[in-house]
Symmetry: C2
Subunit: 601 residues, 2 copies
Amino acid sequence: MAGKFLSERNIKFLAHEVFDVVSLTKYPYYKQHNKKMFDMVLDAAVKLGKDLMHPNLEEMDRNQPELVDGKVNVHPSVKKVMKEFGEGGWIGTSFPNDMDGEQLPLTIAGFCRFIFSAANYSSSVYPELTAGAARLIASFGSEEQIEAYLPKMLGGQWQGTMALTEPQAGSSLADISTTAFPTNEGHYKIRGQKIFISAGDHTAVNNVIHLMLAKVEGAPEGVKGISLFVVPKKRSDENGKLVPNDIVVSQIYHKLGYKGAPITELSIGEKDDCHGYLIGKENSGLFQMFQMMNEARIGVGLGATGISSAAYYASLDYTKERPQGRKYTQKDPATPQIPIIEHADVKRMLLFQRSIVEGSLSLLTQCSMYGDFEHIMEGDEKEKYALLLDILVPVAKSYPSEMSILSVSQGLQCFGGYGFCDDFPLEQYYRDTRIHPIHEGTTAIHGIDILGRKVTMHDGKAYKYYLDELKNTIKTANGSPDLQKHAKQLGDSLDTLEEVTSHLTTTVKEKGREIFLADGTLYLEMFGIITIAWQWLLQGIAIQKAQSKKLSESESNFYSGKFYTLRYFFAYELPKVMGLAKRLMDIDPLTVEAEIKHFND
Amino acid sequence: MAGKFLSERNIKFLAHEVFDVVSLTKYPYYKQHNKKMFDMVLDAAVKLGKDLMHPNLEEMDRNQPELVDGKVNVHPSVKKVMKEFGEGGWIGTSFPNDMDGEQLPLTIAGFCRFIFSAANYSSSVYPELTAGAARLIASFGSEEQIEAYLPKMLGGQWQGTMALTEPQAGSSLADISTTAFPTNEGHYKIRGQKIFISAGDHTAVNNVIHLMLAKVEGAPEGVKGISLFVVPKKRSDENGKLVPNDIVVSQIYHKLGYKGAPITELSIGEKDDCHGYLIGKENSGLFQMFQMMNEARIGVGLGATGISSAAYYASLDYTKERPQGRKYTQKDPATPQIPIIEHADVKRMLLFQRSIVEGSLSLLTQCSMYGDFEHIMEGDEKEKYALLLDILVPVAKSYPSEMSILSVSQGLQCFGGYGFCDDFPLEQYYRDTRIHPIHEGTTAIHGIDILGRKVTMHDGKAYKYYLDELKNTIKTANGSPDLQKHAKQLGDSLDTLEEVTSHLTTTVKEKGREIFLADGTLYLEMFGIITIAWQWLLQGIAIQKAQSKKLSESESNFYSGKFYTLRYFFAYELPKVMGLAKRLMDIDPLTVEAEIKHFND
């Protein structure tokens, strides 16, 4: 299990050659940093992944957490991870200095998240969830709340969680029923049940801080009545001592993969003694939570891409070492067999994986850059980047997640029968990555989000910005002879996207929202393929720039390999837009019309 | 775990309305049977699946076989399955009466295999492998061999296996090194190692009969030197007593899924005391094995389709029961939530699964019918059906296998977070079905087979027969107003296939075999989609015929549901041909050109 799980060279390529993350240091908020520091952070993250996380990948899978006497026992390495992450500043990477954070760009934090996910996804979620929960408190909490929770959370002593889902309310948050009863002592009493809460309790930390959605008694129905609370597993009593806060883990789920992290069911306030502390104002919980969703969803994309990356490098290693078969031109069975990487179809499977990994990571870096721009800019520019981020988040969450299933599956296929056996890590990656199209909003939800909301919001302003970004890239690429063919292909696909979008927005007027949104998932898929093609064209521009200089042999091979991957994406993946567009332009609303009774036999 | 795992109505629809399996009873070989008997067999198979196999699905997964003191302990139900299958004639379903078989059509045996796979795939492989091994003996063995092995094998007392793969020879059978040393006593001494041997040994039977490929000492290099042997775990000594035959299980593999059946590594002849008995002549092993491959590969397709079916019905049940969300037109959050099957995207996921299950089963039935025709006919007709079967086998093996991954994954997705948990069977089906694109030839191997061999063999005769079959169906469908649109769409796709095939066969002349076969997998995928569309059009003709009569409400719903599924396939799946064709017509041989050095970073 000591193999390569990511390409450091590719991270540096994206950070410095495609996106110029160092340009952010021109802005006051990031001026304390420079290229050398960014690289040191990235190198240190890789080292942490290699030394502390990756070695436990298999063991954490084979020894999943168990609920014993009310306690959730997790692998011993979790304690070390939380400690090292806390002490090393890895939980507070992108938090401001005045909250004891490192004040690093989201882009750098994003790369770190990718690195940790590639090293050991289960291991990575403990600190990442803590960071996500802490950011909610940092953004909307009172000074007292920030003071009470952030140091321990960013320090890795306390676990953070996002507690949204309930048995009767998964995708439909409007239907949550966990209730907060106001008291005269400043806190609320919380009662209810939450399910699927990742890292909802475990023995590697002293306390768990739930960022929980609940409805204040008598609040409006639906999403308008949702409030956000901080609900600790142990609360401070009047003497500042931690005492139990009436939250019980009623079960943990045994699952397909991602087994190193416990997913819990929580019973809250069974003894009517669970104190919750309102964050911000009542009934603004959904708004607050959605402010944080972009980051969480990019995090899912990074998690999926991390697993795809680890699977890719494992399969790449294997294909270089495994001899099997001969070239068609070699008819003599007495000659030695060749490594399977020399077979065109194996290279196809490798290039597929690589195009998904590097294309997804490029998009996720793009999104992080937009997030950083949004953070440091003002006025129209700020709005522009916020809108670009908004429209791309469903893609950045879903494309890497859905494609990770296929990408890891191809990695497994490269191993033949061994891929199916647990002597190699592929079967685990295959199980681990299946969660991503489910958590933080299923793919269908994101399809509805992009088509039903993001494309049309603000009179299509976000969509227009998106088109402009792609057109600018196409224009630049047109200046390079080796990219013109690909620029044209992306341009044609963009025309198709515009045609489909316009067809669908007409449909909504003529046939209503149900038919309009019926194929949201397909629209998202098409949007995703085109977006990744754009990212490959952006990378192509950087490749061309590099190739115009004198290069060492290994650097030359790197860029050539990259360019093969670009060609792969345009030759094999982008044409899938054609079939999707064909369906999306079709007017047969068969999935709306079919009724339950048609599914009886 | 008592839910529905297949549609009996659909099996009857295919058997009697689409393919008219009863027409086979007009031929002497099957004249002992009639419709009532066929239906009784199918009903009994379903009952066996429900009562004996499906109840152990989860337990067999959770308690996988273990190798203890040289013995492979399997779930207790395996013994019962082998006994019932043996006594009930289920292993010898399609064997001739004079070998104690039931002499039923392959088509009926195929349905049974589908039923057993849907009930419990791991459980089903024990008898199925035995039948496959027994058929090799029946086809090529001597009378003495038939007499010595068949009664015990078809009776379920002895397990049969196919022992092909070796550590250094997976897809490349030319490189097997297991050796057979001739003796003067009629037998050979076998020495070597085999891996990935399914049901290679276990405690539920008294003996295991390996149908093993080996090379006689001094045989020609490569595939020309392969011979077929029957190598029992225990052989008869001079007194007819069973004694150990020097085969040791050196390990069993722990794997992703399909855990109920042990996959073994065998050490053969370590003490130089393993007797093997030649089947037929020396050096004709590959030919003999390939005679049986069609059946084994159709079996894989049926296994994959069985798991897809079970996953589909589990997800269908769930979507009818799980309330979540509301229609877009229902803005009032105080109204009750609706079952998720009412959401268009959920219906899309269900129709996708159903189109894969019922489309695949239709193709597999078609192949079985061709097999039966080949068996009972003579001369040109016999050759025609043999060729049709040959060209369709790569599709019948690979399409259901590859699509099962996606189909089961959509089933899992229907469950949301619960799909990822082991409280529901989807996560198991997802693991179980991943084997199918690997065993009995990987998908890449079948891509090379169809494009490099099947399409061109006998001057394209098989391919021509295939085109004729599709064109006949299109012609018939054109006579029905409701099918004309779909007939035209299939006709257009067929034109695309012809264009692509002609382009590729020109390529081979101009650019050589390496470039010609580089995208064999994509060609196979395209061929598969078009073939399944043809099967849906065939079903469409049967649907139209039924709908022209007066129908009960439930029958009317059945046919309407079928027709929605047909419409789904033509609207969502068939258009995928466009993107594949675009790539296949492209001349950029990037997967051939990319070199190992391009994969360094």
